[in-house]
């Protein structure tokens, strides 16, 4: 799969032809994506007094509401609820905002598409990764919560692995939805609605165990449900996620990314005509 290639050397564009022979230059793409991600992230908090600290504001506010609801009003009986819910909130936020911003990315950043040689897939990738930095900015808060509780278990070192698997899903969905949104602007609005539903259909603030068996299928088909339980395994319970299910999840993630990328690559040559 040629991800993020810069057009160099000989290229032939033909009618109805979507695959082009291109020499790849991954180092360039790395520079491009990291530079744009840094730029977007800085811009997001430019001219604010608290700067990137604002990245913590939203998940903390959500946590406050949920913690009050489910420890004081309707106690769920989950141990160390702050850590439990916060893990879910920040991971879910990245997933939801990442997909939503990737979906509209190409429309927002037409200027990047009309640059000769800039790989088109860079546009949604930059969106997803920029939102990933918001996640990263909230991790110190999580660390504080963990230290206030039982401490940070050694298995937390596996966090990057799970982040990468989440990235596979987020990007895969993001690329496909981004392509669809160029042709049908309803997609962006639909994504917002689905993400709102998703927040409640994913065990972000409740325990997956407490879901009755006949509704289990909803959780089993939801990749974020599996990812959240993996996060909680390594961050709270202190053990690695079960190997086989996690490998299956990773494989599904790679498949979704592959399909998403193929859809994006198939659709992207005519993006500029549609914008």
């Amino acid at each position: 799969m040629t991800f993020l290639e810069r057009t160099t050397m000989s290229v032939t564009y033909e009618a109805g032809d979507f695959s082009t022979s291109r020499a790849s230059n991954y180092r360039y793409s790395w520079d491009l994506v990291t530079h744009l991600v840094g730029r977007e992230f800085r811009l997001r908090y430019r001219r604010t007094i608290f700067g990137w600290l604002w990245a913590m504001g939203y998940p903390l506010a959500r946590l406050l509401v949920l913690a009050f609801l489910f420890t004081r009003i309707l106690p769920l009986g989950i141990e160390n609820y702050a850590v439990f819910a916060f893990t879910g909130i920040i991971a879910w936020s990245w997933f939801a905002t990442g997909i939503a911003s990737a979906t509209s990315s190409v429309i927002d950043r037409r200027d990047l598409l009309i640059r000769p040689g800039v790989p088109r897939s860079a546009v949604p990738i930059v969106s997803v990764l920029t939102d990933g930095l918001d996640y990263a900015a909230a991790l110190p808060v999580l660390a504080v919560f963990l230290l206030l509780g039982d401490g940070i278990p050694l298995t937390s070192l596996l966090l990057p692995v799970i982040l990468v698997v989440q990235l596979l899903f987020t990007l895969g969905f993001g690329l496909a939805l981004c392509a669809a949104n160029v042709y049908l602007r309803d997609v962006r609005l639909l994504v917002d609605v689905v993400m709102l539903l998703g927040f409640y259909l994913t065990p972000v603030f409740y325990d997956a165990q407490s879901v009755p068996d006949r509704y289990r299928l909803v959780l089993d088909l939801n990749p974020m449900a599996h990812l959240l339980s993996a996060y909680r395994d390594i961050l709270i319970a202190g053990h690695a996620p079960a190997t086989v299910p996690f490998l299956v999840l990773t494989t599904v993630g790679m498949a979704i990314l592959a399909v998403g990328y193929l859809i994006y690559r198939w659709a992207s040559p005519s993006f500029v005509d549609e914008l």
Binding site: T7, S10, Y13, E14, A15, T20, Y28, H35, R46, P116
Partner: protein
């Protein structure tokens, strides 16, 4: 050795009826897709190190051609072959952000144009020097004037070692002296073996930079060859229909399938003098010259206007709503719309002119904001209409 080969390229843009300006189509918003062929069967080649000029009026397909060469979009038919890396001066400064400093914006621009980050960083001084902005690079872009922004954008674009450079109408940067600097820089690039394609409607620029030139008109190649010869043909063709053509494409947007083509739009005041300015309450005549390239049984002609200051639609008059049939069209013709009195307030009004088929299924030709009409008087008007009136105290 050919660096660029374009073989039988056609490019079709398809508008869903809802995606096009619907100025004249408010009565019927249903409608199928409108096809617009921006390029039809274009073939040519450019050798390594050569500079090709592309001339033609607005909407002749120049920009589409450059986009195809840049790989930004794909041909509908035919093929484009490019043998080296393409850089483009297609748009200047679109990716710049007002809150970031000149330096940060230059860095982003250079990376987007194809430099590795470290290399881009190394060239910042050079870029700042070329743009003559050394003292401003630390300041946010929002403090820059438009001219400074364009200078910076141009400086970035030409300091990235292009191999094939596409230039689209962006040489009008800065004052005369800076333009001269841009030209010399481009000439330097030419001398170092860069292949250049320049699209412009400015014949002087083309003559100066290009040995060979391609003339596009409505998406077709009219002529290709030595710049002097092509430029002469082009100029000749321009002068033949110059009086009627001039206002037609002044800044407007044009589309349509082209069976019937608008060749001229003129406005006349009540003394039958050609004008672009009337006083309120006076009559106005809109004269449309057209040519039906194919025989058409009947058509709808329309003229609409909206106020420039707030976009308020003032009128939308067409033969369809008036129940007028214009009859069979073939070859050149002329139609006039007489507005007996125009009670508009002072200000600028933009006229759209269009020819459609009788079912509104198809747009033959449509000029959006084809003409600016100035109605004199009234600097502080907020309304559109100024009906004839008088006061009487009871």
């Amino acid at each position: 050795m050919n660096e660029i080969e374009v073989l039988g390229v056609s490019k079709r843009y398809r508008y869903a009826a809802s995606g096009m300006p619907r100025k004249l189509r408010t009565l019927k918003n249903r409608g199928p897709r409108v096809d617009h062929w921006a390029l039809r069967d274009v073939s040519f080649a450019v050798a390594r190190g050569e500079t090709l000029g592309v001339i033609g009026k607005n909407a002749s397909g120049k920009s589409t051609l450059l986009r195809l060469l840049a790989g930004i979009t794909r041909p509908t038919r035919g093929s484009v072959h490019i043998s080296r890396t393409v850089s483009g001066l297609l748009t200047l400064g679109e990716s710049m952000h007002p809150l970031l400093s000149g330096e940060e914006n230059a860095l982003t621009g250079a990376i987007l144009a194809g430099l590795r980050r470290a290399e881009a960083q190394r060239r910042l001084l050079q870029i700042a020097a070329f743009a003559e902005l050394e003292d401003h690079m630390e300041q946010p872009l929002r403090t820059f004037s438009d001219g400074m922004r364009l200078r910076l954008a141009f400086a970035v674009a030409v300091h990235v070692d292009p191999e094939i450079l596409l230039v689209d109408e962006v040489l009008a940067v800065g004052d005369m002296r800076f333009q001269e600097k841009c030209f010399s820089h481009l000439e330097g690039l030419q001398a170092s073996g860069v292949t250049v394609v320049v699209a412009s409607h400015d014949l002087d620029q083309i003559r100066r930079l290009c040995t060979r030139t391609l003339w596009l008109s409505r998406g077709r190649v009219m002529d290709i060859g030595k710049t002097d010869e092509v430029a002469d043909h082009y100029r000749q063709a321009l002068s033949e229909d110059a009086p009627s053509r001039e206002p037609v494409t002044s800044g407007g947007v044009r589309h349509g399938s082209g069976e019937v083509e608008i060749t001229g739009v003129r406005l006349f005041d009540h003394r039958e003098r050609e004008t672009s300015r009337i006083t309120p309450g006076n009559p106005l005549t809109v004269e449309i010259d057209f040519i039906a390239h194919e025989e058409v049984p009947d058509a709808i002609f329309g003229v609409s206007a909206h106020a420039e200051r707030d976009g308020v639609r003032c009128f939308d008059i067409h033969t369809g709503a008036d129940g007028r049939s214009v009859g069979r069209l073939h070859g050149p013709g002329r139609i006039r719309l007489h507005l007996d009195r125009l009670d508009l307030t002072g200000g600028i009004y933009l006229l759209d002119v269009g020819i459609f088929d009788t079912s509104w299924e198809q747009t033959y030709d449509y000029l959006w904001q084809a003409f600016a009409l100035e109605v004199s008087g009234g600097d502080h008007e907020v309304a559109v209409l100024r009906p004839p009136h008088r006061w009487s105290m009871q």
